[in-house]
Point group: C2
Chain length 355, copies 2
């Protein structure tokens, strides 16, 4: 049996096959997105997600097409002029670029791929309206400390702060009183089919969007925060959404609740520790991220002197799929996801194959 350690899309959660069958049998895909049945699915998904991630009622949960769309909607709705971005890889760079593409004037502080930030030393320009952070830079496996992100907001309470938690959710424990927007996609830490982005937006971000709209700023159309709020308070969405995706998210969130989110988080961290220890001692496959405090617990990037393409092929031939590196180091790196869908037994198989 194949196992996907790719950092997203990744291994499907084991319950998905049965959930799909049940969805078809119970006509989930035929129900109207204006029906009680659909509202019930949204209620299940959002209430379970709130319990799982500790999302307070001050924050709305919006369903989008992807996390990339979330970047666009956050820029459109939280920024009139200037966003400020912490860039240290492909996806934090994408967030920065999107802000420019929707005609805002983003600024950035950038460090090389593989490095993190001393968040306590970051100075935000006084005219920046939004601070954009990437909790887990999927392209390199660099994580930023959750406390550091909280402290950034404490130092700049009048600015909005957004967190890309695409490849770390549901593992990090954010205090949403200190986070204005956070987003993820479901094909990573939730082990679901791709095609659904989740955006968590606090009242301050929504109010900001309303202010911008009142000033005549282009905040988008059907997925402006105004439109998203108008429907989300009714447990609906502006357009016909990925109903099946929301149903599956509800089911997997409930399954994570049964497992116990504390257990899941502890297991991810324990296993990440074990894996880094193993690879720190490995003869030719070493962790790419040098500073242990920036090492991601959910996406591990390993590097070698040689081309790792043959290794990836050999592993794939055994049904063990790992991700390639990103950008310039694409061929000399592999990326391994350590998500809640993966088990110790999966990693035993992988480490045995690597020997």
């Amino acid at each position: 049996m194949s196992i996907y350690f790719t950092p997203g899309p990744t291994q499907l959660h084991g319950a998905v096959a049965d959930c799909l069958k049940e969805a078809v049998e119970s006509d989930v895909c035929s129900m109207s997105h204006r029906s009680r049945g659909f509202e019930h699915i949204v209620e299940r998904a959002t209430s379970s997600l709130r319990r799982l991630l500790g999302i307070p009622n001050s924050h709305h949960i919006f369903f989008l097409g992807s996390a990339t769309e979330a970047m666009e909607r956050v820029c459109e709705n939280c920024v009139a002029q200037k966003s400020f971005h912490l860039v240290n890889g492909e996806f934090s760079s994408r967030f920065f670029q999107i802000a420019g593409q929707v005609k805002r004037a983003p600024e950035k502080v950038e460090v090389p791929a593989g490095e993190g930030f001393d968040l306590s030393a970051i100075q935000i320009p006084s005219n920046a309206e939004l601070i954009c952070t990437t909790h887990n830079e999927t392209s390199t496996g660099v994580t930023l400390p959750v406390d550091g992100i909280h402290d950034l907001k404490r130092r700049y309470p009048d600015k909005l702060i957004a967190v890309d938690m695409v490849s770390s959710a549901p593992v990090p424990e954010f205090d949403f009183d200190l986070i204005d927007c956070a987003f993820f996609s479901v094909q990573k830490g939730f082990g679901l089919p791709a095609g659904l982005g989740v955006l968590i937006a606090g009242n301050k971000a929504v109010e900001r969007s309303f202010e911008l709209a009142a000033q005549g700023v282009n905040t988008g159309s059907f997925h402006s925060f105004r439109s998203l709020v108008e429907y989300s308070v009714k447990r609906q969405t502006p357009e016909t959404p990925n109903v099946l995706g929301i149903y599956l998210l509800a089911r997997i969130c409930e399954s994570y609740e049964e497992d116990g989110i504390e257990n899941i988080r502890a297991e991810i961290k324990r296993r990440a520790g074990d894996l880094y220890k193993y690879f720190d001692a490995h003869p030719w496959l070493r962790p790419y991220v040098q500073d242990p405090k920036f090492r991601s617990s959910t996406v591990l990037t390993l590097q070698a002197e040689q081309d790792l393409h043959p290794l990836r092929e050999a592993l794939a031939a055994q049904g063990l799929h790992v991700g390639a590196g990103y950008g310039k180091l694409k061929d000399r790196q592999i990326r391994i996801a350590n998500f809640p869908v993966h088990s110790d037994r999966d990693f035993t198989r992988l480490l045995e194959a690597l020997q």
Copy 2:
């Protein structure tokens, strides 16, 4: 067994359950959206769709989150200032509103719900850049003649023309040499789970988008036509898309090809004729659209003097789900979809229940 005659989401195509099973078994949901496997799925979906709808190589096929998103992207990428809209119901009105929300200056010609347009008499303002038409107004069951839309483009060859074919595809036969943008969503005529919009964009529309971008117009970010083209030529998408949705679309398009698109179209039209004949003679449930040339073959709206909510409830109790009306006539109307997923036997059951 329940049958959904709702105009979308509607009855799932009978093959979907097996396709979902096969998708899970063949790891469709775990494959990278940068992999050959994914490119192969895109190739299957787009080549089958090209054959089915007669889409020439001058036109790109883009995958979005919804048809509503397609409206936004068309306005962003084809219009600097003015779009011109033919409005005759909820969804054509949405297209018009979206243009305004993304800060264009749309104009419209509007007729009451239930009516169509004498397309040969429509005058387009000289400064309009894009003509927005709704082939099938899902809220009322009004269709516009395909030839009339073609003639509109012939009369205004220098303007771009967009066609909302959300609830009519794959039935109408458009000559894409006369259509710049067309879009639909998969939960209607393709009988698929919602969460995927398909936008067909011709070279002229793409060139226009490039011109607008060069002029500094905000054409969007990851789903600008520039970004969509950059990836679609590689059979990829800018973001991780609804891979499962694209896979299912490929499978159902191929199934429609096997059935023969001409057979499907003939059957839809024959059945629509039979149904309108039946309801024209019905004692209290009459076609809402008076003029036969504007009567949709895929979404039939029926109207009564009395509140039809109890009728819908009684039908639903027998597993026969029909749509409510829209807007002011919500309670006095029902809408019945006549899509390729529906069979004569389904309609026999429905008509028997209505007696």
